[in-house]
């Protein structure tokens, strides 16, 4: 005879974890392209080097943990972490900085907790925060955006050279404060005047920054369309961020927190909303839970940006909410068919 004995269901949907990860990688392309367009090849080199080191660390960890290496590398999760970290780091970051970041993300934040699915914190964000605290100088050195691969923008060769430590001095010549820094340090000018004064602020949120955010937004919409994640967390994060920035816009005074569009399109907003907050492993699980999770991240981002000490806040907010995710889950268990919510809550604790 020899028929298989397996339990139902016998059919399986088209989605696989590797495919989810590949789609996520694919969706970073528009954002990566904008970053490269305006800031040169520094980000691409970041991503490349981060990928190589992340895969190496992952393989090492799997070998030490005696797991099948090929099987786990095939889930692409290490690559996703590498991409996100590479994108978040300043373009043209030194190789050691990147390596420390990926090592921390893969070895400590992921494998030490038991590998994919078991990590309570988003590895890319945890590594970013660790680097920001340990190496504040390197982490806040941003190149000035140029556009159209023009002029003294970092070419691929230069970017590689900088990355590996040759002629780093010259890089300082083309760095400048990010728009978020600019706004933060402003305490005398009206918003309107500030924008006129500082050319790099662009239309809304800084040349380059606007476009990078729009790129990530596009990628995110694509992922939504492919049903890689649900809309709940990203949309509620953007909504709460918008709401707060409207409330505290203050008519554009010198104490203003900045316009809603400025907040939506600057810094890591869109990258965070669609690529970090949606990280399934570390977010809340139910839809209701994700609404709360996203909204709280949006609020934290605004608070830290405007009243905190760090100019960008996505990483901090996400990490803080990673802590809170299990609690959110606990209180947002959906109502099961045929149950009253009351009974369910009662029986749960």
């Amino acid at each position: 005879m020899g028929f298989l004995k397996v339990s139902s269901p016998h059919a399986h949907g088209p989605m696989s974890t590797a495919r989810v990860m590949r789609l996520v990688l694919l969706a970073t392309i528009p954002g990566l392209f904008s970053l490269t367009w305006f800031f040169g090849f520094g980000t691409l080199v970041n991503v490349l080097w981060a990928s190589i080191t992340a895969l190496a660390f992952e393989a090492l960890a799997l070998k030490l943990r005696k797991r099948p290496i090929a099987f786990y590398l095939n889930d692409y999760s290490a690559l996703v972490t590498a991409f996100l970290l590479g994108i978040a780091l300043p373009p043209g970051s030194p190789f050691w900085l990147i390596m420390i970041g990926t090592g921390f993300a893969i070895l400590i934040c992921k494998q030490l907790y038991g590998g994919m699915g078991y990590n309570p914190f988003n590895p890319a964000m945890a590594a970013y925060v660790m680097l920001l605290i340990s190496f504040p100088v390197q982490m806040t050195t941003w190149l000035a955006p140029q556009g159209s691969f023009a002029g003294d923008l970092l070419g691929p060769i230069d970017a590689l050279r900088y990355c590996f430590g040759f002629g780093r001095e010259s890089i300082d010549a083309i760095t400048m404060a990010t728009p978020l820094d600019v706004l933060k340090q402003n305490n005398s000018l009206l918003i309107e005047d500030l924008w006129q004064e500082s050319a790099q602020l662009g239309h809304f949120a800084g040349i380059g920054w606007e476009w990078a955010n729009i790129g990530f937004l596009l990628g995110g919409l694509y992922l939504l369309y492919r049903r890689v994640f649900t809309w709940h967390a990203p949309i509620s994060m953007l909504a709460s961020l918008t709401l707060l920035s409207v409330l505290f816009y203050d008519g554009g005074s010198s104490a203003s927190g900045g316009s809603p569009l400025f907040h939506l399109l600057s810094g890591g907003t869109m990258l965070g909303a669609f690529f970090i907050v949606t990280d399934p492993v570390t977010s809340a699980v139910s839809n209701r839970g994700r609404l709360i999770y996203g909204a709280l991240i949006g609020i934290l981002v605004y608070i830290i940006r405007v009243w905190g000490n760090y100019p960008d806040a996505v990483a901090f907010s996400v990490l803080l909410m990673n802590f809170a995710a299990p609690f959110i889950d606990h209180y947002t268990q959906p109502r099961t068919y045929g149950h009253k919510l009351k009974d369910q809550q009662g029986g749960k604790s």
């Binding site: 139902s8 269901p9 699915g117 068919y337």
Partner: protein, 789 residues
Amino acid sequence: MRKIWDIHGGIHPAENKHQSLLKPIENAGIPAQLILPLAQHIGAPASPIVNVGERVLKGQMIAEAKGFVSAPVHAPTSGTIAAIESRVIPHPSGMSANCIVIDTDGKDEWIDHHGVEDYSALSKLDLVDRIRQAGIAGMGGAGFPAAVKLSTRDDKPIETLILNGTECEPYITADDILMRERAAEIIAGAEILRHIIKPNKETLIGVEDNKPEGIAALKKAAEGTGIEIVVFPTKYPSGGEKQLIQILTGKEVPSGGLPSDVGIVCQNIGTATAIYRAIQFGEPLISRITTVTGEACGQAQNYEVLLGTPVQYLLDKSGFDKENCIRLIMGGPMMGYTLQDTAVPVVKTSNCILAPTVAELPPPPPAQACIRCGMCAEACPVSLLPQQMYWFSRAQEHEKLENHQLFDCIECGACSYVCPSNITLVQYYRASKAEIRQAQQDKIKAERSKERFEARTARLEQEEAEKEAKRAARMAAAKAKAAAAANAPEASKADIIQAALERSKAKKAEPADPAQAAIARAQAKRDGGAEEESPQEKTERLQKLLASAEKRLVAAKEKLALAQEQQSDNADAFATAVSKTEEKLSAIQKELSEHQASQAPAKTEPAGESTDPAQAAIARALAKRAGAGADESAEDKTTRLQNVVATTEKRLAAAQQKLALAQEQNDANVGAFATGVEKTQAKLDAVKKELADHQATLGENAAAEQATSDDPVQAAIERAKAAREAQANMSEADKIKQTLESLENRIAKSKEKLEAARAAGDDKAEILADSLAKLEDKLATAQQQLSQT
């Protein structure tokens, strides 16, 4: 347009339905052999009413329903009963169970059968009974006996009757083609159901929108009947009973409840046609429509299949390509189970046989880590959190699993289907459910055995104390005897003591075999006079024991009856106690009768041979006492039985009163009370019978006594023999038979309860199953005992 509600989650797997819809329903014909499992439905298996070698006609009942939640089985065609034996049945575990095997004769000769002229003239009870007798069980999948679902209670009025034509599983088209070809029968069945249920609001037929032809046919057939065809978007698993109810009415069946709790009765459309044929033509359920499909079948199509047809027969008909097929599924790809053996038969619930090629449904890839993507929660139609349940299941956190409503999972497989990490989630849930049920059972068992242990310890202590007291008394008696012997220097007394000593030596060397023991004792007796621990004493002791055991039994039985009446949870414990007591009682009775038997022949010889007048006197006295003992016990028994009759009658009266009261007040417990009354009545009858039997035996005894009364010793022997016989008859055969009967009754009852509980998805089901198994064990032992006597 009526409002359609949406269910949470759901998925859209590839439908693959068109393949089997290209051809009309074809009659699959008569295979050489039909295998009919006795359990094709949820509930107690039917019990065969035919013998091997008997010729049966098409439509003849060959196994009858056993209890309320059960369904009879009929012969699908004419032929000869080839065997009633264990065969592999369609079941996920690939297990075997009792089946009736029919060698068909190809004549397809119908038994005389009649339909009903005008069903609307018949009462609901009558119609439901006809449906029950036709063996109709839900044909959509679960196989719940249709008659049980239709036995709605008046205190729970039904608002909506729903016919389920959803058929949401991919591949299966049995209902679809039924709608296309036999819409009129479905509607006719629906009208009968409506007449039975009398829904006070509406009768609906729910169909997914992927069956436009079927919908058109149904709509046409339903014109002017007031039966509404409700079409809603295709989504798996809309066809689940609870899901369909939600879609059509927006109501949710409470967890652990039944559709009737929210005023709904739901039947499959296939069941409706079967009901129509049963009422209109008097045809029992002997065939069904089964889809045979999958790419490994040359021709996918729907067959009208006789129940019992082996799967292999259908595959052969469909050009099955074994080489290309690595899994064979009974049911659909989402909830069906794999078959290992193509000899399994099509049963009442077999809606599909799916033989996919390897490429079509490839073997599952290895599972990866859960990435907590939440897609499973998105897909779950019951709004569970499959991912959390998965973690808890892995960690064996049973309490958390239950708090996450594991037992509300309908095992639809939607979560496994969407899981990108290929985790076999449903398998984890099934395993955990089984573990939790097991744990619950173990807990109950442990508690029970603790109780038992404590009771035993107490009893042993008491026995020990009694023994101690007796020993002391005996010591005193022996001392007195010795003193008397010393005081009276007569040879005979010295002889007696000597003999007693010798006998006690002989007793020590006594072999285990009672016959041998009797001989040894007889020899010892010939050698000397009376025994030191005389047989009378033993008789008395045994009789005392017997009386007290009987008393205990009566008390235990009363307690049990009370517990059963009150539906108490302890009923099972009491039942165990009763059967334990019964066992003990019969053991004592056996011992007593053996003892008396061994005593009787022993006395024959001294009576014939003894020249010593003293010995003769002793023997006579002995005989008299033995006879008196037997008489006494018989009298005791009479009074006892009379007492039992009196108390049972009292209880019956009380139960009847309660029942009447309950009926007046429309109490929900009426059913329970009615069962209580029935039970009490049955017991009363049994006791009365016992009493009558006993008195008859007594009469015989008296007659025997009179016939032989001229010789007292002979008479004593006769009496002892009679008593032994009576007791042997009573205690061994009759008693065991009675026990058997009562056990069988109890088994049937608890099976019903079990099925009801299972059907209701009640957690208690497993507990009930456990006690059922115990009862069955007991029954087996009793049967063994009976065959030994």
